[in-house]
């Protein structure tokens, strides 16, 4: 049902083919901005706090792919403020399907294709340059860790947007800001102070999207093992997202008519 809803949106969006390419282009371009930055910096320095160019690109690509997944699977959550504010959530509440999934599939972020394309190219290139020593077990764990990392990112997007139940605005600026918080973790976490590092790895665990998984795959640094906790972080985020919706819906007031 979730898949079908998204599929229907793809078809609807493809009606405007030119627009689709504009979006993919624009999104691809915006994902490259950070890359330009990384390129410009690494043209002048060999490493940032001990992290080399391709190591940083690996983290960056994980964040990008995570973002793409959010756009693919949770884009509708950006409409939550509007749905709550105008009482449009009513129709989802009278349907026998979890509201959180109905909201997430309410819209499809066509930008996902641009984002995912850029992210995948970066990930593959970075892994190819990095000479990771792959064994079957390592590959299997890496797959699990990366998949969990993406779940973390998608859930965090949903959680940020669930704030709409409490904030009651019509636009998701808060969520957009919270999402930007994730951009902090496009760079090695070690550049930040202790407080911020702790914040980004526990309360709002964006560090589990790119940094910790990448550090684990690379075996880089003393805390590389933390990457193995990514599935736990994913479980934590999903739980919070579900609870946020459960409590949020209790506050839901519908609209006057």
């Amino acid at each position: 049902m979730y898949r079908r809803s998204l599929g229907a949106h793809v078809r609807a969006s493809l009606e405007y083919e030119a627009d689709f390419w504009i979006l993919v282009f624009g999104v691809g371009l915006s994902q490259c901005v950070g890359l330009v930055f990384i390129g410009a910096v690494f043209a002048k320095v060999p490493h940032i706090n001990g992290w080399g160019l391709w190591e940083v690109v690996l983290m960056y690509s994980m964040m990008t792919i995570g973002q793409g997944c959010s756009e693919l699977f949770a884009e509708g959550s950006w409409d939550l403020p509007m749905l709550v504010n105008r009482g449009e959530l009513d129709r989802m509440l009278v349907r026998p399907y979890p509201v959180i999934l109905q909201v997430c599939s309410f819209r499809l972020g066509m930008n996902a294709f641009g984002t995912l394309a850029v992210g995948t190219v970066l990930l593959v290139t970075a892994l190819a340059r990095l000479h990771v020593h792959w064994t079957p077990a390592r590959a299997a764990i890496a797959l699990l860790v990366f998949a969990s990392a993406l779940v973390v990112k998608v859930s965090l997007t949903v959680i940020a947007n669930a704030s709409a139940f409490w904030l009651r605005g019509t636009i998701s600026t808060f969520a957009a800001g919270a999402d930007q918080l994730g951009d902090l973790t496009r760079y090695p976490l070690t550049i930040y102070g202790v407080g911020l590092r702790a914040f980004l790895s526990t309360a709002v665990p964006f560090a589990f999207v790119g940094f910790f998984p990448a550090a684990w795959v690379l075996g880089h640094g003393q805390s590389a093992w933390v990457g193995l906790l990514t599935p736990l972080a994913a479980a934590y985020c999903v739980t919070v997202a579900v609870l946020a919706f459960r409590f949020g819906l209790r506050r839901y007031d519908s609209a006057g008519n």
């Binding site: 129709r91 509440l93 349907r95 026998p96």
Partner: protein, 339 residues
């Protein structure tokens, strides 16, 4: 023991409205003081609806009709009181409840805005897990009675109001729910579509579906419902058979008259004892009991006093019903909770 299909006890819903002064200063002050006014949209409602019943739920604007429907459907969580619908507490077990009900909000579409109607239906089929056979049969039937054929390939946002309403009705009934809530399903429709919708609802009730119908149009309920519940200020002020209300209402008519030259209203009052005359000498209304006078008698009496330029006879509306209830004009039913 037979529990009614829908059962509400002392149901209340209180909205909090931010108490903001006007302008910037008001906003700023609100930021600090955070004052709210409590607004009791629903204020202690007891309602039982048996399986197969068709209930008209009427009242003035803002009486709390839509809010009641939202409480019964699990959209809103009640501030206090109990609800059970088919043994399920709607806001607690929302998904189980959703399978039992079909909902139409006349003022708001439930169709997917950017999808063709047919896609919306297939989505709903999957959401309600309707078996393919059943789905085909139901869709065929609904397509026929609601004349949906030409609408199926059209995108939701491109439908006209009447087309949208028909598609919405079908969308709410695809899974053949035993309970159907209709909140103003004929709002803004022209006579022809209205008739079609009313006929459709009549069939629905005849087939044993439990229906709760909210409307401002007394015409909607006459054919469809046998019981009428009247709400005002969030409370039920009357609950009883529709026939009684109809008889009572059928008594009263209003004739609006524009005489060619102003007449003395006192003379008209004298000519028609027992009626209520209001207005100006140049344009006035006469309220009369249909069993005491016929419209012809009233018109004749007026014509005896002045030449009539124009006149019109009004049937009573919801507002009159509510007024009559307050005047004690309606017989209280045993379950009715007087305000």
């Amino acid at each position: 023991m037979d529990e009614p299909l829908i059962r509400a006890r002392a149901l209340t819903k209180t909205f909090r409205r931010p108490d903001k002064g006007p302008g910037l200063a008001g906003s700023a002050r609100h930021l600090i003081t955070r004052k709210y006014t409590e607004h009791h949209a629903i204020d202690g409602i007891d309602l039982d609806v048996a399986a197969g019943e068709a209930v008209a739920y009427v009242g003035r604007n803002g009486a709390g009709k839509s809010t009641t429907v939202k409480l019964l459907t699990g959209i809103l969580v009640p501030s206090s009181g109990e609800v059970r619908v088919a043994g399920v507490v709607p806001h607690q077990d929302r998904i189980a409840n959703a399978r039992n009900i079909g909902v139409v909000f006349g003022q708001r579409t439930q169709l997917w805005w950017d999808l063709p109607v047919r896609e919306t239906f297939t989505l709903l089929r999957d959401m309600y897990r309707i078996p393919p056979e059943r789905y085909r049969a139901t869709l065929a039937r609904l397509t026929e009675v609601l004349d949906l054929g030409p609408l199926l390939p059209v995108t939701g946002r491109k439908l006209s109001l009447g087309q949208r309403m028909r598609a919405d009705l079908a969308a709410a009934l695809l899974h053949e729910p035993p309970i159907v809530y209709l909140d103003e399903p004929t709002i803004g429709l022209d006579i022809e579509v209205k008739d079609r919708v009313r006929e459709f609802l009549r069939d629905l009730v005849a087939n044993g579906t439990t229906v709760l119908l909210t409307t401002h149009d007394l015409g909607d309920i006459e054919d469809v419902c046998r019981r009428i519940v009247i709400v005002d200020g969030g409370r039920i002020i009357h609950d009883g058979p529709l026939a009684a209300v109809r008889d009572e209402l059928a008594r009263e008519r209003s004739m609006h008259v524009q005489p060619a030259v102003p007449v003395d209203l006192a003379a008209i009052r004298a000519a028609l004892p027992g009626t209520e005359v209001s207005g100006e000498p140049g344009e006035f209304s006469i309220r009369f009991d249909r069993f005491a006078y016929s419209a012809g008698q009233v018109a004749a009496a007026v014509m005896g006093l002045a030449e009539i330029r124009d006149f019109r006879i009004d049937e009573p509306g919801i507002e009159d019903v509510v007024r009559r209830v307050y005047e004690g004009g309606l017989v209280e039913s045993p379950t009715g909770a007087p305000a």
